[in-house]
Subunit: 528 residues, 2 copies
C-alpha cells in the first residue's frame, strides 16, 4: 500500500486532546472535504480518503506534533497542481500546520516531466563539465539595452557561462522587450563566435495572458536558449507549460516564494518549496539566497534545497542549485566545497562591482572557480542541441496585405518565390517556396505556403513533431510517409502526422505544386 501512496509529514501545533482529531481533519479535508457521514463504505474510504499513519510528539517542541498521512497516489491525477493542492491546498488556510516532508511514489513522479535539460543537459549546452557554472544578473533596471548588451558581452568574453536578466528587469512593453533582448542576445552571440564558448543568455519572462505567450514565441524564434521564470509569480502551471512547449533551459527565481517560509509553524519546508516542487515544475536550476547575503534562509534550508534538487526522483532529471548573494571571490573555495561541481554560482553585485572592467572581473572569478574545481571543456552533446532552435524567425510588426492575386502559373502578386531552405543541412533538389499567409504579420495560428518541385526534384527527407497538411495544386507528385508511397494530384488532401519520416517527390515530367499548411510555431525538422 505504501508504495502506492504519497507520504506527507506535517508538523502541527495542537493540544494533547485535539491532535488526533486534527490529523483526521487534515486527511479528510485534503481529499474528500465532506463530513464522515457522507462516506460510510470502507472501500471508498480506503480509495478516496487520506489515511493517518502516525501522530507523534515532536521532540524538543512542546505542543508541536508530527502527523504522517498517506494519500492514495491516484489522487494526484498525474498533475503537479493537484499534488500541491492535495498536500497543502485548503489546510494552508489553517494556522499552525506545516508541510515538513513529502515522499512521492513512482506513480506520481512517472506522470510528471520535470526539467527538460537537467544537470547533464545544461552541461552539454554550455560545454562546461566538472566545475560550477558562473552566472550573473543584468541590473540595475534603468540602463539602456546597449548598456546591458555591453555588460553581457563583457561577461561572455570573460568566460562567464550564464547571463540572466535581473528578475526585476521588466520592460515597458513588448517592443522594448524585443529590442532589448535582441540587442543583448546578439552581443552574447558575437562574443561566443569569437571565443568558441557557449555563454547562455536568459531573458526574464515576467508577464501574463497573451503577452507571456507572445514573448515566449519571440524569444524562441530569436534563438534564445534559456529563460528566467518566477514560479511563484507566474505559477507552476506556466512553468510546466513552458517546459512542454518550448526547448528552453529554465532558471527559476524564488520571488514571492518566501510566503511559504515565513515561520517554522506554517508553510513548507524550504527543500519542498524551492527544491522538490520547483524541480517537478521543470526548473533546470533554482536560484536561492546563499547564507551571508542580503537574505538568509539558513545553511540547513539551503542544504535541503540542494539535496532535493539532486536526489533520485524516479526518472525526473536532477537540477542545479544556484546559490546567490553573499558570494565574494574569497568565498568561492568554500562555496565549491559546500555545493560541489553540479551548481551554478550566481554572482551579481559582487561581480559587477569587483572592478570597472567586467570582462576582467569575470575572468578572475571564473579562474578561481576553475582553480577550485578543475575543468574539462567538451563539445556539446549532439542530442542536446537538436532541440535548440525553431524553423521560423520573427516577422516584425508589418501590416499584413489582405490579398495576393494569382498572376497565373502559380505566381502571386506581392509574394515572391524564395529558396526552399537556404540554411538547411538536409539534402533536397529543385524546390521553390512561396510564403502566402502567416509570415507577413497575419493573426493566424498557421502558415500557408506554396511549394513547387521540378521534374526529378524532391523535398528533404525529414521528420518533426509538427504535422503537415498538404493540398495538391498542379501536376502529380509522390508523398512518401514512413516508407509508404502515395500519388498526390490537384485537390488531393494529405495529412502528415507528427514524427512521420516524409518527403515529396516529383517523378513526372511536369512541375508538381502543392499548398502546405503548418502550425505557425513549430519545431525544426531533423534527419530521419
Amino acid at each position: 500500500m505504501t508504495t502506492d501512496c504519497i507520504l506527507a509529514e506535517y508538523h502541527v501545533t495542537a493540544s494533547n486532546r485535539d491532535v488526533e482529531a486534527l490529523a483526521k481533519f487534515i486527511a479528510w479535508e485534503q481529499t474528500v472535504e465532506v463530513p464522515e457521514t457522507m462516506i460510510l463504505d470502507a472501500d471508498a474510504r480506503e480509495r478516496w480518503v487520506g489515511r493517518v499513519d502516525a501522530v507523534e510528539a515532536l521532540a524538543g517542541a512542546p505542543g508541536r506534533w508530527r502527523i504522517r498521512i498517506a494519500y492514495p497516489s491516484h489522487l494526484a491525477s498525474g498533475q503537479l497542481a493537484q499534488v500541491l493542492n492535495l498536500l497543502y491546498g485548503n489546510i494552508s488556510l489553517c494556522r499552525g500546520i506545516r508541510l515538513a516532508d513529502v515522499v512521492l511514489p513512482p506513480a506520481v513522479t512517472g506522470a510528471l516531466r520535470g526539467p527538460r535539460w537537467g544537470v547533464a543537459g545544461l552541461r552539454a549546452l554550455t560545454g562546461v563539465h566538472d566545475r560550477p557554472l558562473l552566472a550573473t544578473a543584468l541590473k540595475p533596471r534603468g540602463r539602456s539595452a546597449a548598456e546591458f548588451a555591453a555588460m553581457a558581452a563583457a561577461f561572455a568574453r570573460g568566460g562567464g557561462d550564464i547571463v540572466k536578466d535581473d528578475h526585476n528587469l521588466v520592460d515597458a512593453d513588448f517592443e522594448a522587450f524585443r529590442e532589448r533582448v535582441l540587442c543583448i542576445l546578439q552581443a552574447v552571440e558575437q562574443a561566443n563566435e569569437r571565443s568558441g564558448r557557449l555563454t547562455l543568455y536568459a531573458p526574464n519572462l515576467l508577464a501574463g495572458g497573451g503577452e507571456l505567450r507572445r514573448r515566449l514565441d519571440f524569444v524562441a524564434a530569436a534563438g534564445v536558449r534559456a529563460v528566467l521564470l518566477c514560479p511563484n509569480a507566474v505559477g507552476f502551471s506556466v512553468v510546466e507549460q513552458v517546459v512542454a512547449d518550448y526547448p528552453f533551459v529554465i532558471l527559476a527565481h524564488p520571488s514571492l516564494a518566501g510566503m511559504a517560509l515565513a515561520t517554522e509553524e506554517h508553510g513548507m519546508e524550504a527543500g519542498l518549496a524551492l527544491g522538490l516542487f520547483y524541480r517537478l515544475a521543470g526548473a533546470d536550476s533554482v536560484i536561492f539566497p546563499n547564507p551571508g547575503g542580503r537574505f538568509d534562509l539558513g545553511q540547513e534550508a539551503c542544504g535541503s534545497v540542494t539535496r532535493r534538487l539532486r536526489e533520485p526522483l524516479g526518472d525526473i532529471r536532477p537540477s542545479l542549485p544556484a546559490p546567490a548573494g553573499g558570494m565574494s571571490l574569497e568565498r568561492i573555495a568554500d562555496m565549491a566545497e559546500v555545493y560541489g561541481a553540479d551548481s551554478i554560482f550566481l554572482i551579481g553585485s559582487a561581480l559587477l562591482t569587483y572592478s570597472a572592467d567586467l570582462e576582467w572581473s569575470t575572468a578572475v572569478f571564473r579562474e578561481e572557480i576553475v582553480r577550485c574545481c578543475g575543468e574539462r571543456l567538451l563539445p556539446p552533446a549532439s542530442d542536446a542541441v537538436a532541440f535548440g532552435a525553431c524553423e521560423w524567425k520573427p516577422t516584425g510588426g508589418t501590416k499584413p496585405s489582405a490579398f495576393a492575386r494569382h498572376l497565373g502559373d502559380f505566381r502571386w502578386e506581392g509574394r515572391p518565390a524564395t529558396d526552399y531552405k537556404p540554411d538547411e543541412r538536409l539534402p533536397f533538389r529543385g524546390v521553390s517556396r512561396v510564403e502566402l499567409v502567416g509570415r507577413g504579420g497575419e493573426a493566424t495560428a498557421f502558415d500557408l505556403r506554396y511549394f513547387e518541385v521540378e521534374p526529378g526534384g524532391y523535398t528533404s527527407l525529414e521528420k518533426h513533431r509538427h504535422t503537415h497538411t498538404v493540398i495538391g495544386v498542379r501536376g502529380k507528385g509522390i508523398l512518401v510517409a514512413d516508407g509508404e508511397r502515395r500519388e498526390i494530384g490537384p485537390h488531393d488532401i494529405a495529412y502528415i502526422d507528427s514524427l512521420q519520416v516524409h518527403q515529396l517527390r516529383n517523378e513526372s515530367t511536369e512541375p508538381f505544386g502543392f499548398y502546405c499548411i503548418v502550425d505557425h510555431f513549430r519545431d525544426r525538422p531533423t534527419e530521419p
Copy 2:
C-alpha cells in the same frame, strides 16, 4: 508624483535603530537590487528606485512599524506578475515584513484587464438580479460521473445558480475529465431547458502544461460557461491567460493562498491576497472561508476581501465575494445582511446533507435567499451572451485519416459535404461545407474546410475576432470585406482580418468554391 506611484504599506518588525535602514533596504531591493553606489544619479534614483515616504511606529504593537513606500508606477510594466514581484517578490524571503496595504494608480489598473464578466456580467448570464447567487460544490471525489450529473441536475431543478466541481475533484486523465464534464453539463443543460433558468456548471481546471490547454479547449468547445481555477496552485498568469483567451466566468478558489496569511507579521493582508490580486488576475468571483466554518480567517479579513473585490478600481470590473463554509439555512438572513446582494453563497456540505432530496433542499435554501433579499428575474443582456460559445464542437478521440483523395468535382473520399451552419441565426443561401483537416483528430492549430456557393448564393454577413485565410478554388466569387468588394478566382489568396465584416458571394452562373483556413480555437461569429 503620488498619482504616478504605486503606494505600498508594509508592517515590519525592527528595532528603533534598524527601522530606517530596513525601509531603505525594501525600497532598493524591490526595484534595482544593487548597492547604492551603483546608482549615483539623482534623476535615475527618482525614476527607478522606490521612495520611502513614511516610517512610523505601529500603535499598540511594540517593535512593529509602518513603512510606506512609493514605487514609480512604470516599474509595474503593466503586468500583474510584476506588480506582485515589485510589491513583495524578494522581501517575501525576509521574516517580519508584511504587505499591509496597496493603492494602485490608474496607470497600473488601466493596463490590466481584470474580470471579463464581473458582477453585472454574471448577473446577466444567470438572469439573477438583486439577490445573492446560490452555489454548491460537487463532492466527494469518488462518485461516478452519473452520480455527479444527478446531483447537478437536482441542484439546477431546485433553482440553484452555480454548481461547481469541488477543487479536489480532479479526474484520472483527460478522457475521464471529458466524460464526466459532458455528463454533468448535459444534465444541467437539460434541467435548464425545462426550467427556463440558467444554472451554470463550472468544472475544475487543475492541470499544467499542455493538459491545461487541452481541457480549456475542450470545455470551451463543449459550451461550458464557467470554470473553477485555483490561482495559487496554477498561477496568476494562467488565470490572466484564461481570461484573455476564453470567454469563461472565472470562479477562484483559495487553495494554497493561506501561505500568504500565516501570521500577522508576514505575508499579505487578506484583502490583498484574496481580494485585490485575485480580482486583478481576472476572478469574477472569489471563494473564501466564511467565519464559523472549518476555516476561519476572521470577520475582519472576510470584510476586507469583500471590500477589495467591490471597491472602485479604475475600469476593472467588481467581482463577487463567495463566502463558503459555516453557512446553514438559519444563517442566510445574517449572511445576506453581512455580504449584501452582490454575493455568491457557496453552500456545500450543509446543502448536500440538508435532506435526502437535493432538489428540495436547494429549493428551500433558494427560497430563503429570495425571502431575505427579493429577486427580479430578467432575461440575460444580449451583449453578455455574445461571448458565450464557440463555433466548433469537440471531435472525440478518432484517429485522423491521412489522405482524402479528390474524387473530382470537388468531392473528397471520406469527407462528406455538410450543411453550412445548421444552427446559425445569421442568414445565408446555397452554401455547402466540407471539413477536410482539423476536425478529425488531426494535431493542427487550424482547420481546413472547402466551401461551395451556388450561383446567387452567399455566406452569412458576419464578423468575429478570428481571421480567415481564403484560397479560391473554382469559379469566381466576390469577397466583401468592410464594404469593399473584390473578385476571387482560383488560387487567389485572401486574408480577412479580425473583426472585419465580411461575406463571400457568388454572382456568377457557375459554382464558386474556396478553401478556408481558420484557427482551430476561435470565437463565434456575430452580426455586423
